[in-house]
Symmetry: C2
């Protein structure tokens, strides 16, 4: 259930209720692909970095340890000891990005697992059944994510099929939720908009899936090859056709600047592996831009990573210590870097929400869009 | 300053004062080779696992980031944000175990760094200067650690040289401590007993170094190739010649059973990489013996690692979750496994101290020596 509290231009301040608590939006979801956050962060640490929603991956957990194992151990919340909201993706994106061999039909997709190459079939029903076993709060519909750019004819056929798959997902989840062994009776299904970089295909598919009256809608298939401007144009084009009383989730996006621009265009939910991936490479976010700890200038630098940051890493450790740990290949370096970057992202969302509350989001966006992505 | 509180047979309950707090002995020191604990544990986490003394490595920190850098950043305590006692080894063991090419003379050792192969000279003065820059509470004398077994003639010459090196270490530290830029004015030097597996050489060298009246003495050059029984025999032989009013440190030892047997022989300080190394391989210590989480029987096991353990890992997570994380190669798996194993070791030392206090150490030792090393 989504409550729109306030708007400023296209930007929206809201609240979304799940069976594991209320989410303040706009929100950045923290990615724990295999039921663990990169850098050795636990669910307990997620609370500390200010995470509201944890995101896990259907495909990965199906392959290892198996969704039946997670079900036997009480579902994903108990498995990883996270009692807040969880969103699971549908596996669609991983099927299309990870699998070497694949075969897409109306029924679903046959592909080879990334672990040992064994053949897996996944269609809408399989994806929903896995997510139902995991017991997430938000299950995503099974879709085809097409890399940009792609031929119009292919995209048109693909996104029509994604719509038909959505119908099957909805039916299957409704059927499963009737069963007494349901892990999470409050689990909901969100639909996904596809259509590549073709605004008219996007709009047409969005109109179709809006008719399903789902509790939330995502824009998928962006940040997969197109430019930032193309991405913003698609959001601008499809936004007016997304139900205003439902949350909007821009999948897999992005940089702080991407997030600010997308919030201005009405997006409420985000997720991205960037904070963790950048951390691994020694790229740390600060209020003045991105610093690269591999740079020799930080060797004996006693300042915290970000002098304006209140996270436990910045309160305790110097840039010199973090740089040493990363260069020495110590896991602690990765952990502290990811810890800071996730805190930074979650804190950025808090700053955005406060700016919206105080009616100065446009000012905040103008001040920060360029600055936060700057490399210093 | 060491205070002997109680004895039971050869076992000793005591307290050792350092410039960063009092250590209750017998104690297990937690190894943070490069100023970081393996598995992504921070100094903050060390408090949680019950660590009393952190141990870092002179050689590693000299090579990277450089002891001058650590000094510039305020010394090792501030660098890694650990305000408890720190012991630094002398680099001797690493020089002999890591370096491919080396050349040992009276002055010291020339060898190649493990990072990029550059040539390094380290002698007693260099080792002490590095440790003085790091500002540890306990600095270890520079010694030669000879692998067992070794020819008697070589061991005899080597351990005489180690004694001459100790004298130079003592002079150099005394000189440096006079300087105003001293990082830790409370830094102390401990001597190291060597002599391979030859009891008479061990005793002779111990008599010599006891004359230096140092605040603590270590037995080095054990757990490097000899059997457990040979190790115990050496401790039995050399123990009577170690000053009873000074703490005794058995370097690099060992399994829970080794620790129980050595405590019974009067050892007060221990360190070992085993808890972290075993954790990495999925071997977790429990009160019933060692379990191997790679075993398929733990796939859907909802029990904690050790049902008798109060650590945060056992209070929160299942064996099934830990097994999944380790198999998936998630850092979190490593972190939780190391966290538990270090807690287990530190807790074992607490149990030993309580047993000593209550006059039932012998009973505790008989009950646990075999059980704790059992593979189940």
């Amino acid at each position: 259930m989504f409550k729109l509290l306030k708007t400023e231009g296209g930007a929206r301040l809201g609240e979304y209720e799940t069976s594991h608590g209320t989410v303040k939006t706009p929100v950045f979801m923290n990615v724990g692909t295999q039921a663990a956050i990169k850098g050795g962060l636990s669910a307990y640490d997620l609370r500390t970095v200010g995470c509201q929603v944890e995101l896990s991956n259907t495909y990965h957990l199906h392959v290892r340890p198996g969704d039946q194992v997670v079900r036997e151990l009480g579902g994903l919340h108990r498995f990883m000891q996270w009692d807040g909201p969880i969103l699971t993706d549908s596996g669609g994106f991983q099927v299309f990005s990870l699998a070497k061999l694949r075969n897409i039909r109306e029924e679903g997709v046959i592909f080879n697992a990334h672990t040992d190459g064994h053949r897996i079939f996944m269609g809408p029903e399989e994806s929903v059944r896995i997510q139902w076993n995991l017991g997430s709060d938000i299950a995503m519909a099974f879709d085809e994510c097409v890399a940009n750019p792609a031929p119009r004819e292919y995209v048109a056929r693909s996104c029509e099929r994604t719509t038909r798959w959505l119908e099957r997902c909805k039916h299957e989840l409704a059927r499963l939720q009737e069963l007494p062994e349901t892990v999470n009776p409050g689990q909901e299904l969100w639909g996904i908009n596809q259509g590549g970089t073709y605004p008219d295909l996007r709009i047409q598919q969005m109109k179709h899936i809006a008719e399903f009256d789902l509790p939330g809608y995502a824009i998928g298939g962006l940040a997969v090859g197109e430019t930032n401007q193309e991405m913003y144009d698609i959001i601008d084009a499809v936004g007016p056709y997304m139900p205003a009383d439902k949350p909007r989730y821009l999948m897999g996006v992005g940089t702080p600047a991407n997030i600010l621009e997308a919030v201005a265009r009405g997006v409420d939910f985000f997720d991205c592996v960037m904070p963790a991936r950048n951390a691994r490479h020694g790229h740390l976010f600060t209020h003045e831009g991105v610093i690269n700890l591999n740079n020799a200038q930080y060797t004996a630098d006693s300042r915290p990573v970000d002098e304006g940051c209140a996270c436990p890493v910045c309160r305790r450790y110097s840039r010199g210590y973090l740089r040493h740990l990363l260069r020495a290949g110590e896991m602690l370096g990765m952990r502290l870097a990811v810890f800071h970057n996730l805190w930074f992202y979650n804190n950025l969302m808090t700053e955005i929400r406060v700016a919206l509350e105080e009616g100065r989001f446009e000012h905040f966006r103008r001040e920060n869009t360029e600055k936060l992505s700057r490399r210093i």
